[in-house]
C-alpha cells in the first residue's frame, strides 16, 4: 500500500486526500488548522465549467481558448486542456458529494457571467461557493477518515522536505504550532497544497495563514518556481477598518458597472474602453483601466449595483451585501461601492507539469501554490476549478510513486537547528511589514527597473534577526529569499504581459512568451 502525505487542508488538499484514499493510498493530511479555517472558504464567485445548459453554444474548447487568452498564452497548454475538459466532470462530482450549488429554473446548476468569458460558464452557490464546496468535501473526507484511509494531523506547520539518497521526495518535517513538537512524516509521495504566498504583500485579501513558508522552503531545497512576477490585482476591493476585502467579480457578472465621476456625471468607462465585454474584461485589464481613470488612485472609482434588483444583491450576492453592510456601513442597493485594485492571487509558484509533478520526483503541488494553469492572468472561476482539478490529478499520479532510494532522515538536523536558534530583538511584525512595504512599492500594477532594483537593495539591507518563535524566525528569512526571487523574475521579464506591466517595456515581446523560472543553487537565485 502506498503512503501519501498531503500538506494543506483547503480545497486542493481535501480533494487530493479523498482521491488518493479512493485510489488505495494511506493518506496523512497535515495542516495548521481545520479546513473550515482555510482560505478556500473565502472564494465567493464561482467555479468554471462549460456545461452548455444556457443555450449559448458553449464548449470546453471555448473554455480552453478563453483561459489561454486570459493568461496571455504563457499557460501550460496541456494542463489547461485537461483542466477545461475535466471541468464538467468535476461539477458533477461536487454535486454528487453534496455541494449546494444554486439552480436555474430548469433545475440545472445555475451559471453566471464572469470576466474574460463571453458565455455563462461560472457555476456558483450564492456568493459563498468556496464555503459550500469545502463543506461537502469535509463530509466526504470525514467518511474516509472513519474508514481509515485518511488520517488528519491538525496543528502542524510544514518545515522542510525529506529526500532519499536518490533525491526523491519521501516526506516532510513539521512543527506543532502549540506544543513546538518536531515531527517527521515519511511516505511514498508528497502533495503540497499550501496556497499562495500572501505574506509577501502583508495583510492582503486572503487568509493570514497562507504565508508562503512552504513555497519558499521548497525553493531553497531545489524545487523550481515559475512566473513569480505574475501577481493578480483584483479590480474590485474595498477598504475596511480591518483590511482590504474582496467584492466578487460575480457582482459585475450579475450586471454591476464601474464608473468614475467626469464633468459632474458618472462615466461608465469600461463600456467606452471595451465595448464588447465592458466590465467583464479579464482582471488585469480591468485593474489597469481603474488605475488609469483614477489617475493612479487619486480619484475615487465606484462599483455600481444600485440598478440591480434586491434578490440579485441580497441572495445571489449575499456575501457582497454582508461585507458592505457590516464593514462599510453601506447599502449597495442605494449607494455605489468605492473600490480599488489589490493583490489577490498568485499565478506563479511551484512549477508543475500537467500531472502536477514538480522537478523533484515524488513531489507534487496543487491549488494556488502550483503554477501551470493560469499563465499571466487567471480568469475568475478558474481558481476553485484548478484547486479541485489539481488535487484530483496530483493524487492519481502520486499513488503510483514508489521511491527507490533510502530515506535520509533529516529530523536530527531540524532538531539541531531548533535547539540552536536564538531569537533576537527585532519586532516580527515590523519586519514583516517592511518586507510587504518593499514588495508593494516595487511590485504594483505597474513596475519599472529602477523601483525593482531599489527593492532588491532594500531587501539586502533588511535586518531580519527577529524576536519570534522558531517557525516565524525561519519564515522571515525565507520570505526575503522568495521576495528577491519574485523581483528578479520581474526584472527578467522585460515586457508587459497580463499582470506584469513594465512602464519601461510597455509592449509584449514574443521572446518572453514562456515561463520565467527561478532556481536556488548554492545560496544563489538563478533566473532563466
Amino acid at each position: 500500500m502506498v503512503d501519501i502525505i498531503v500538506v494543506g487542508a483547503g480545497i486542493a488538499g481535501l480533494t487530493a486526500s479523498i482521491k488518493a484514499g479512493d485510489n488505495g493510498a494511506n493518506v496523512s493530511l497535515i495542516s495548521p488548522d481545520y479546513s473550515e479555517r482555510s482560505q478556500s472558504v473565502m472564494a465567493m464567485g464561482g467555479i468554471n465549467a462549460a456545461l452548455n445548459t444556457k443555450r449559448e453554444n458553449d464548449s470546453t474548447d471555448q473554455h480552453f481558448t478563453d483561459t489561454l487568452n486570459g493568461g496571455c498564452k504563457i499557460n501550460n497548454e496541456k494542463a489547461v486542456e485537461m483542466l477545461t475538459s475535466d471541468a464538467p466532470q468535476i461539477i458533477d462530482w461536487l454535486e454528487r458529494i453534496g455541494t449546494s450549488f444554486s439552480r436555474d429554473a430548469n433545475g440545472n446548476v445555475d451559471m453566471r457571467n464572469f470576466g474574460g468569458q463571453k458565455k455563462k460558464r461560472t457555476v456558483y452557490a450564492g456568493s459563498r461557493t468556496g464555503k459550500q464546496i469545502v463543506s461537502a468535501l469535509v463530509s466526504s473526507c470525514r467518511k474516509r477518515e472513519t474508514e481509515g484511509k485518511i488520517k488528519r494531523f491538525v496543528g502542524y506547520r510544514f518545515l522542510s522536505l525529506i529526500f532519499t539518497d536518490e533525491n526523491e521526495c519521501c516526506g516532510i518535517n513539521c512543527i506543532h504550532e502549540d506544543t513546538q513538537e518536531l515531527r517527521s512524516f515519511i511516505g511514498d509521495a508528497v502533495i503540497i497544497a499550501t496556497g499562495g504566498y500572501n505574506s509577501l504583500f502583508g495583510k492582503i485579501l486572503g487568509s493570514t495563514q497562507n504565508d508562503g513558508f512552504a513555497t519558499a522552503k521548497l525553493f531553497t531545497q531545489g524545487v523550481r518556481l515559475a512566473n513569480l512576477e505574475m501577481v493578480q490585482y483584483h479590480p474590485t476591493t474595498v477598504k475596511t477598518p480591518q483590511k482590504r476585502m474582496l467584492i466578487t467579480e460575480a457582482a459585475r457578472g450579475e450586471g454591476g458597472k464601474l464608473f468614475v465621476m467626469k464633468d459632474g456625471k458618472p462615466w461608465y468607462f469600461m463600456k467606452d474602453f471595451y465595448p464588447e465585454l465592458a466590465d467583464l474584461m479579464p482582471r488585469d485589464v480591468v485593474s489597469r483601466s481603474i488605475f488609469k481613470v483614477s489617475d493612479g488612485g487619486k480619484k475615487d472609482v465606484y462599483l455600481d449595483l444600485t440598478h440591480l434588483d434586491e434578490y440579485t444583491v441580497k441572495v445571489k450576492l449575499d456575501e457582497v451585501y454582508e461585507i458592505c453592510d457590516k464593514y462599510l456601513n453601506l447599502d449597495p442597493l442605494k449607494t455605489p461601492i468605492p473600490i480599488f485594485p489589490a493583490v489577490h492571487y498568485f499565478m506563479g509558484g511551484i512549477q508543475t507539469d500537467e500531472n502536477h509533478k514538480t522537478n523533484i520526483k515524488g513531489l507534487y503541488a496543487a491549488g494556488e501554490c502550483s503554477c501551470q494553469y493560469h499563465g499571466a492572468n487567471r480568469l475568475g472561476g478558474n481558481s476553485l476549478l484548478g484547486a479541485v482539478h489539481g488535487g484530483w490529478i496530483s493524487a492519481e499520479n502520486a499513488v503510483l510513486e514508489k521511491p527507490k532510494g533510502n530515506v535520509i532522515n533529516s529530523i536530527d538536523e531540524e532538531l539541531e537547528s531548533f535547539k540552536s536558534y536564538a531569537p533576537k530583538d527585532k519586532s516580527l511584525q515590523d519586519t514583516l511589514s517592511e518586507i510587504s512595504q518593499i514588495m508593494n512599492d516595487s511590485m504594483g500594477i505597474y513596475r519599472n527597473e529602477g523601483d525593482l532594483m531599489a527593492a532588491l537593495d532594500r531587501l539586502d539591507n533588511l535586518d531580519i534577526n527577529v524576536n519570534a518563535k522558531y517557525y516565524d524566525y525561519l519564515k522571515v528569512k525565507l520570505l526575503v529569499i522568495l521576495s528577491k526571487a519574485s523581483i528578479l523574475s520581474a526584472l527578467e521579464r522585460k515586457e508587459s504581459r497580463g499582470a506584469h506591466q513594465r512602464t519601461d517595456y510597455p509592449e509584449s515581446d514574443d521572446r518572453y512568451k514562456k515561463s520565467i523560472c527561478a532556481m536556488y543553487d548554492d545560496g544563489e537565485i538563478v533566473i532563466t
Binding site: 488548522d33 466526504s140 480591518q242
Partner: protein, 222 residues
C-alpha cells in the same frame, strides 16, 4: 478605554485610546502585546477568532468596538477565551472535540447526494456553519461529554435530506437521538449567537421530526 483580557485565569488590563471604528481583532493587533489567538480570514467566514467579548461569544473580526454597549457606555471591553473548550494559551482554545463529534455522529453521505429543489436554500444555510463554537458557549447543556452541540444537528439536518442509503440514514438519526436530542433542553440560545445566523431551531426541529417523533415518520410527512 480599558481593555480587560483574560490571560491564564487572570484579567490583565491594557489602555487603548485610538479609533473605535475597529474590530476586536484589530484592537488585539494594535495593542501589540504577545498574546495568542486564532485567526485566518479576518472577514467573518472562517470562524477561527470566536471568543467571549463582553460576556457574549462573537467573532472578533466582526465585532466592532463602536457597536459594543460596554464600550459606548462604560468605556471598557472584556475579552475572554471560549470557556467550554480546553485552553491552549491566552485566547486560543482547542476545539477538536467539536470536529471529533461530527465524525462520531457519522455526518457524511454514503450514496450520491439527492437533489430536492424545495430544500436547496435550507441546505445552503446549513452548510454555512463555521464550527466556531459560539453556539456551544451559550448552550446551557453543552459541556465536554456526550452532548455534541448544535453544529452536529445543523450538519445532520442537511445530510439527512441528501442521503439515500437507508442504513446510514438510520444510523445518523440514531446518533442524533442519543448524542443530541436526549441532552438538548431547547433553549435555542444557539440561534441567537450564531455569527452566520443559521436557523438552528429549524435544523433541530427537522431532525427531531425525522429521528424522534415517529408519528411524522409513519405519516410520511417529512
Amino acid at each position: 478605554m480599558k481593555v480587560k483580557i483574560k490571560i491564564d485565569d487572570d484579567y490583565q488590563i491594557f489602555d487603548y485610546d485610538g479609533d473605535l471604528n475597529i474590530s476586536v481583532i484589530t484592537l488585539l493587533e494594535k495593542l501589540d502585546i504577545p498574546i495568542e489567538y486564532s485567526c485566518s480570514c479576518l472577514q467573518g467566514i472562517c470562524g477561527a477568532c470566536a471568543m467571549v467579548i463582553n460576556s457574549e461569544p462573537k467573532l472578533a473580526c466582526k465585532t466592532f468596538l463602536n457597536e459594543e454597549r460596554m464600550v459606548i457606555e462604560y468605556n471598557q471591553i472584556t475579552i475572554e477565551p471560549l470557556s467550554k473548550f480546553p485552553l491552549v494559551k491566552d485566547l486560543k482554545v482547542d476545539r477538536s472535540i467539536l470536529f471529533d463529534a461530527m465524525t462520531e455522529c457519522e455526518l457524511w453521505l454514503e450514496n450520491d447526494s439527492e437533489y430536492n429543489p424545495k430544500d436547496l436554500d435550507f441546505e445552503y444555510e446549513m452548510s454555512l456553519c463555521l464550527m466556531c463554537g459560539c453556539c456551544t458557549e451559550v448552550c446551557p447543556n453543552y459541556k465536554l461529554g456526550d452532548f455534541v452541540g448544535a453544529p452536529a444537528a445543523v450538519s445532520a439536518s442537511k445530510l439527512v435530506n441528501q442521503e439515500s442509503d437507508e442504513e446510514h440514514l438510520k444510523n445518523m438519526k440514531k446518533k442524533y437521538k442519543k448524542r443530541f436530542f436526549s441532552h438538548c433542553v431547547k433553549s435555542i440560545s444557539c440561534e441567537d449567537v450564531c455569527p452566520m445566523e443559521i436557523p438552528t431551531q429549524r435544523a433541530i426541529s427537522k431532525m427531531n421530526r425525522k429521528s424522534v417523533w415517529r408519528i411524522w415518520q409513519l405519516m410520511n410527512l417529512d
